[in-house]
């Protein structure tokens, strides 16, 4: 039985990973560290785990792995510290807020011979895996262009504090699409054009924008990463892709498999997704990597590549021109 700890419940996905650990027969959530003591105590209690106020003390125990769900800007410190204690790591996306931080994290994990997997759960959604198969079987011929969205509702909290998040919706959402497409297409982004703005909320980070990528193969991709879903939207957001090939199109809505709840109790409409939980599949895969000592399906380098695109997008927004990517 693998012993796993969670470093911070700052990111809401921690709750989902904790639930996935609870369901998993080969692992147990042993302990929690959180700089928000009350949150940490509450979560530890909920999942019958121990709470630590001292991260080093928690990492000195016989844990096999940790899941890092702290604020984006704190990923580097937490991943490097955990790596130095020889713990395998599943790190919430984005890998970091700065390229140098990501490089340092990858290096620390390599030096300590521990796994660093970045949490891009979209790859594990059955519908996305099917799309990957269809594309690779050339169902619609060669891909020419892809129109994508990763919308959401504005999450608030530290997500809108640039010191902790590194940025707004662009930081939060571009990485999912870029990772998914790099994986499906086995291709790298060549250039990025982007513009962002804050138009929906009174916040200091961007809440909307538009990104146009060109991949090395010439495929043109658009991404709408906006926190533009209204409060009345029946689900938190979306992941949609429409792929245009020389022999047809594939339209994908990752959360289309849902039932609709007309909820009179709370006066709202809700889409209740019933397809396999991708966070659960991601956690399962990470635990298998640790057990089998195999390289992670989604590596630190994958996280780095997506961060490079985000940084280039911000640069493009500032300079008002397309940016050619330089890979680190």
């Amino acid at each position: 039985m693998l012993k796993v700890g969670i470093i911070s419940f700052a990111h809401m996905h921690a709750l989902s990973y904790a639930n996935a650990l609870k369901k998993n027969n080969s692992a147990s959530l042993e302990c929690v560290w959180d700089d928000d003591q009350q949150r940490g105590i509450d979560m530890a209690k909920t999942f019958h785990a121990s709470f630590y106020t001292d991260l080093d003390e928690m990492l000195q125990t016989d844990l096999d792995a940790v899941i890092v769900c702290s604020e984006n800007a704190n990923h580097k410190d937490h991943v490097v510290t955990a790596a130095n204690y020889k713990k395998h790591i599943l790190c919430e996306k984005p890998i970091a807020t700065e390229i140098n931080d990501a490089l340092e994290m990858i290096d620390a994990c390599n030096q300590n011979n521990v796994i660093l997997q970045v949490a891009f759960p979209v790859r594990f959604a059955p519908v996305i895996q099917e799309v990957q198969r269809l594309v690779n079987e050339k169902e619609i011929g060669s891909i020419l262009a892809i129109n994508t969205t990763n919308h959401g509702q504005m999450p608030g909290g530290w997500f809108v504090d640039p010191k902790l998040s590194g940025g707004g919706c662009a930081t939060d959402h571009i990485v999912h699409i870029v990772d998914t497409l790099r994986w499906i297409l086995r291709d790298e982004v060549k250039s990025v054009y982007a513009e962002f703005d804050t138009r929906f909320y009174d916040i200091v980070v961007e809440d909307c924008g538009h990104v146009i990528l060109e991949f090395e193969s010439g495929i043109v991709v658009t991404i709408d990463p906006s926190w533009s879903r209204p409060k009345t939207f029946p689900i938190w957001g979306d992941v949609t892709l429409e792929l245009f090939g020389d022999k047809g199109t594939i339209a994908v809505d990752a959360f289309k498999q849902h039932t609709v709840l007309f909820n009179d109790r709370d006066n709202k409409l809700e889409n209740l997704v019933w397809s396999d939980d991708m966070d659960e599949e991601l956690t399962k895969d990470f635990l298998q990597c640790v057990t089998e000592s195999r390289p992670p399906f989604i590596s630190g380098e994958d996280g780095l590549r997506t961060l490079e695109v985000v940084k280039a997008a911000y640069q493009s927004n500032q300079q008002k021109k397309p940016i050619t990517l330089i890979h680190n």
């Binding site: 262009a145 138009r199 538009h210 043109v220 658009t222 879903r229 021109k321």
Partner: protein
């Protein structure tokens, strides 16, 4: 009001039945254009208060140049077969100080009109990100891509306002993605896909106080499936599109005469299209005024 109609026989009859249905309108002349001999156009009665040109696009430049400045003219967009020719004709119209209303059928088409009205009356609050995706089964000739989108781009200009920056990419002469940053800093993403095997229009307008969506494939009120597996879609819209257009023109002429001439708006739409063309030709963002 006295009206003269000039056009093709089939179009003419539809327009004629509309004008004849209005008691206050008297159809002065109804001139069928002879496509084999355009020079044979008869002289016009200058007693008319409106000339309704309902001819094929390729004939419109010739007819419009013959009409002169004296009488208000209505004509459906596009007024010429290419952007270059349209621009040339617009310059002619301006120089001649002609009074002309170029009608974009989308502005009176129920779904487009509904979206335009809800947006322009600020029901969505601060405008954020607008997404328009238009797909059709027909593959255009390479140089006809943007000409065919004139109405959509005109609708974008009239609904969301002028552009500040445009960045466009075109792939394989069948797919175009256009990023528009408007003067008010809102965004529009326009996707045009042709010849990919489906007919579809999806629109999403997201603002700070709400969001409007329109999906053409989800608004069909009647669908018929038969035992022989054939399918048929029926989409009744009540009042015909021509009647909606002409009613709008009639209303403007009788109640809002000063807004009849819309050459300025159409010229701005042509600027929009030229910026898109320039962006994908040069692979750079194009800024209004070239700054």
């Amino acid at each position: 009001m006295k009206v003269t109609l000039i056009g093709n026989e089939s179009e003419l009859s539809k327009h004629l039945s509309f004008w004849e249905s209005i008691p206050a309108v008297q159809v002065e002349q109804s001139i069928v254009v002879n496509e084999d001999n355009l020079d044979s156009l008869p002289s016009f009665s200058y007693q008319s208060e409106l000339i309704d040109v309902c001819a094929s696009t390729e004939w419109k430049p010739f007819i419009l140049k013959r009409l002169g400045r004296k009488i208000p003219i209505i004509v459906e967009s596009p007024i010429a077969s290419s952007i270059r020719e349209t621009k040339h004709l617009l310059n002619f119209i301006k120089e001649e100080q002609m009074m002309i209303r170029i009608v974009n059928p989308l502005m009176t088409s129920p779904e487009w009109m509904n979206l335009n009205q809800r947006f322009t009356t600020h029901q969505l609050g601060n405008s954020g990100v607008n997404r328009i995706s238009s797909k059709s089964e027909v593959v255009p000739g390479d140089d006809r891509f943007l000409e065919q989108e004139l109405h959509v781009i005109d609708w974008i200009y009239r609904t969301f306002g002028d552009f500040n920056t445009i960045f466009a990419k075109k792939v394989d002469s069948r797919y175009m993605t256009v990023h528009i940053r408007h003067k008010d800093n809102s965004f529009t993403h326009l996707e045009l896909a042709r010849g990919f095997g489906k007919e579809e229009l999806n629109i999403e307008l997201a603002g700070s106080k709400g969001m409007l969506t329109h999906k053409s494939n989800e608004t069909n009120p009647i669908s018929i499936a038969k035992i022989d597996m054939s399918k048929r879609k029926v989409n009744p819209i009540g009042t015909s599109l021509i009647q909606r257009q002409l009613e709008d023109v009639h209303h403007i002429l009788t109640k809002d005469h000063h807004s009849f001439n819309n050459i300025t708006e159409v010229t701005e739409t042509i600027d929009f299209i030229e910026a898109i063309e320039s962006s994908f030709n040069q692979a750079i963002p194009v800024t209004k005024g070239g700054a």
